[in-house]
C-alpha cells in the first residue's frame, strides 16, 4: 500500500461520527483508574470466511487482502487487532480446513501490526472441536490486559451445540473473581451472548450464564461477530456490539424468511463490509466506535 490514510482525517471526511458507549455508570470523578491506564485504540476484524465461493460474492479471494491493506494504510496504527472468528468458511474436509487456516494466517501476517488476537467462529472450529484451529492460532479462550482494560476471549463455537460449557464458565467465574467491581472489562467472542435471533442461530445456548457472571461488574462491553453487520444491544448495563464482516453481508434479523447473504450490488461494491475502530478511554470507562469500510471512498 503506497498511500497512507490519516485515520483522524478519514473519520472526519467520511462522516464517521463515532458513537461513544459507556457500558455502565462509568467511572466516578475522583475514582482512580487502574495503574497504567491511558487512552488507546484497537481494531476489530471479523468473519472473513476465507474459502467461501459462490455467486453472492464475486471478490471472495480479494476482500481479506483489501482489508489488510486498508489497515496497513492507517498512519496511526492501533495498539492491537482482535479477530472475532470465522476466519475461514467451513468445510467437511480436514485437509482443506487446515489449508484455509494456513492461508488466513499467512495473509494476516502481512499486517504491520503484529499483535493480533484471534478467536474461532463455528466455521473454523465446530466441525472438529477446534482441533485444526488450535494448530494454527492457539487457545480458543484466554485473557489479557492492556492499559487498564481486562480482555476476556470467550469460546462459544468449539462445542457444536453453541455452548460455552460448564468448564469454561467456571474458568470465567474464577477470572472475574480476581477483578474489582469497577474494572474495565471487554469480552471478545463470536456469537452473541444474548438471544439476538435464535431463529437464525444468532444466539449462544448458555450465553445467559456468562452474562449473569458479568453482571456484578459495572463496566463490561462485549464485541462479537457472527451476524455480518453492525448491531448494538444492551442487556442491563452491558453493551454488546456486533461487527461487520469481511465477506458477504447478512440481512437484518427476521427481515426475510432465510438468512441468505445480501446480494452483491455492483453499483456499491463491498457495501456492508468493513472493520471497526474502538477508541478506549479507561479513565471514563467508555468506548468510541467508528466503522471503516474495506475500500475507502473519501
Amino acid at each position: 500500500m503506497s498511500k497512507s490514510i490519516d485515520r483522524r482525517q478519514f473519520i472526519q471526511l467520511a462522516g464517521l461520527a463515532g458513537v461513544v458507549f459507556a457500558s455502565g455508570p462509568g467511572r466516578a470523578l475522583g475514582q482512580a483508574p487502574a495503574a497504567g491506564s491511558e487512552e488507546f485504540y484497537f481494531l476489530q476484524m471479523s468473519d472473513s470466511h476465507w474459502g467461501f465461493e459462490g455467486p453472492p460474492y464475486p471478490d471472495a479471494k480479494g476482500t481479506l487482502r483489501k482489508a489488510v491493506a486498508a489497515v496497513n494504510a492507517l498512519d496511526d496504527p492501533p495498539d492491537f487487532i482482535v479477530f472475532t472468528g470465522d476466519l475461514t468458511h467451513t468445510t467437511d474436509d480436514p485437509a482443506l480446513r487446515r489449508m484455509r487456516l494456513a492461508q488466513v494466517r499467512d495473509i494476516v501476517a502481512e499486517l504491520r501490526v503484529k499483535d493480533v488476537r484471534f478467536m474461532p467462529g463455528e466455521h473454523d472450529a465446530a466441525a472438529d472441536r477446534a482441533e485444526a484451529y488450535q494448530e494454527f492460532f492457539g487457545d480458543t479462550h484466554y485473557t489479557f490486559d492492556h492499559k487498564g482494560v481486562h480482555f476476556i476471549a470467550l469460546d462459544n463455537v468449539s462445542d457444536p451445540r453453541a455452548l460455552i460449557g460448564d468448564t469454561q464458565l467456571q474458568w470465567l467465574e474464577a477470572d472475574l473473581r480476581q477483578q474489582p467491581a469497577d474494572a474495565n472489562i471487554v469480552v471478545l467472542t463470536h456469537r452473541p451472548l444474548f438471544d439476538l435471533y435464535p431463529q437464525w442461530d444468532w444466539a449462544t445456548r448458555d450465553g445467559k450464564q456468562a452474562i449473569d457472571l458479568l453482571m456484578p461488574h459495572r463496566n463490561v462491553t462485549v464485541f462479537y461477530g457472527h451476524i455480518h453487520q453492525e448491531h448494538h444491544r444492551m442487556t442491563g448495563h452491558i453493551a454488546h456490539h456486533a461487527a461487520k464482516g469481511l465477506m458477504f453481508a447478512l440481512p437484518v434479523a427476521g427481515s426475510q424468511p432465510q438468512r441468505n447473504p445480501v446480494p452483491w450490488d455492483a453499483s456499491q461494491p463491498y457495501r456492508g463490509l468493513g472493520f471497526r475502530d474502538v477508541e478506549a478511554d479507561p479513565h471514563k470507562a467508555t468506548f468510541d466506535l467508528h466503522e471503516f469500510p474495506v475500500v475507502a471512498k473519501v
Binding site: 467451513t90 465446530a126 466441525a127 435464535p198 431463529q199 437464525w200 442461530d201 424468511p257 432465510q258
Partner: protein, 124 residues
C-alpha cells in the same frame, strides 16, 4: 351390618377403580388421538421441511436422524431437542399462534448446516 359394610367397601373400591380406569382411559385416548408427525433429519435437510399444524392442537413430533447428531429447534414455541442417531426423539408441541415459523438444526453438523431448516405453518 357386616354384609352392608362389606358391600359399601366393595362399592367404594369399585367406584375408585372405575374412576382410575376412566382417568387412565382419558389419558390413553388423549395420547392416541394426538397426531404424530415423523421428521427425518439427514445432513443437511429435514423431511418433511414444511409442516402444517392446527392452532392449539397438540402434536407429537417424532424425530430421527439418518446420519449424525442433529438439533431440532423451534424458537418461537420454545421447543428444542437433540436428535440422536438410532433413536426416535419425541417432542410435544402446542402451537398457540397462527403464522409461519422457522425450525432449524442448532447443532453444527457440517458444511451445509446453516441451510438446514424448515417451516411450521400454524392455521386456525
Amino acid at each position: 351390618m357386616t354384609p352392608v359394610i362389606a358391600s359399601r367397601r366393595r362399592m367404594v373400591t369399585a367406584m375408585a377403580a372405575a374412576l382410575l380406569a376412566g382417568a387412565a382411559g382419558v389419558r390413553i385416548a388423549s395420547a392416541q388421538q394426538e397426531r404424530v408427525v415423523r421428521i427425518l433429519a439427514r445432513r443437511f435437510t429435514y423431511s418433511p421441511d414444511k409442516i402444517t399444524l392446527a392452532r392449539g392442537v397438540p402434536v407429537v413430533l417424532a424425530l430421527e436422524s439418518a446420519d449424525v447428531l442433529m438439533g431440532f429447534s423451534v424458537p418461537d414455541f420454545g421447543v428444542r431437542a437433540d436428535i440422536i442417531p438410532g433413536q426416535v426423539t419425541r417432542v410435544r408441541i402446542v402451537a398457540d399462534k397462527a403464522g409461519t415459523f422457522p425450525f432449524l438444526c442448532d447443532i453444527f453438523c457440517g458444511s451445509g448446516h446453516e441451510s438446514m431448516s424448515g417451516t411450521i405453518t400454524v392455521v386456525g
